[in-house]
Amino acid sequence: MSVTVLLFASYADALGASSVQLELPPDATVADVLADLRGRPGAQLLPPAPLVAVNQRYARADSAVRAGDEVAVIPPVAGG
């Protein structure tokens, strides 16, 4: 299945993209998304457990990811 992963700020700089399209098995989780990303150039710079959102809600590493979901890997937030 196809999943869109959004990258922002320092993570987008590190991986050289603000979004990537991943092909994942149908029972994939957030952890699988991160594992896939870690194989890409620049991704060694991601922290061990980055914040992740699925469809604009914070999600845990074992959260399911479904076809068409919008997954976002979220650098430390700095609003305010």
Partner: protein
């Protein structure tokens, strides 16, 4: 004036107008208004700053801002909450965030205001890149692990 009984939140690329936020938090029953304004300051962690660029995961940031306001309304017993966060390039002394709370009593207004800014800083997916006097720029990591230290700098 009586406002809609629901919080008003938004991301904006326009300058924040504190007086407009205060008006949104007014209601005849409210004896207290507290406004918090976050401002771009000239020094951060000992480095001279010339400006800040704010960016966001906009759809999610808008949802989180609205959720924080709704939660604060229930927790502190007032619907009169207005929050704006600025995005884009900001100069020194420009407002990055404005939070207005109206409440019948001052204790509730202060407590809600403080709770909202702490939640905002913890949850809302907004990032800032500081521009320094020497021409360099860096993403700010308030968790105390500068992106550059982890090799994520520009």
């Amino acid at each position: 004036m009586t406002n809609d009984p629901s919080p008003a939140t938004r991301l904006t690329r326009d300058p924040i107008d504190p007086a407009a936020l205060l008006r949104l938090a007014g209601r005849p029953a409210n004896g207290a208004l507290v406004l918090f304004v976050g401002v771009v300051r000239d020094v951060n962690d000992g480095r001279a700053v010339t400006g800040i660029e704010y960016s966001a995961y906009e759809a999610m940031a808008a949802t989180e801002l609205a959720d924080i306001a709704t939660e604060a309304a229930a927790r502190f017993g007032t619907p009169d909450i207005a929050i704006e966060h600025r995005l884009g390039e900001l100069a020194l002394e420009e407002a990055s965030v404005g939070i207005a709370v109206g409440h019948p009593h001052r204790g509730g207004a202060y407590d809600a205001s403080r709770w909202i800014i702490e939640q905002l800083k913890r949850r809302v997916p907004i990032w800032k890149r500081e521009h320094y006097v020497d021409g360099t720029r860096e993403w700010v990591d308030p968790t105390g692990h500068p992106a550059s230290a982890a090799g994520l700098g520009r």
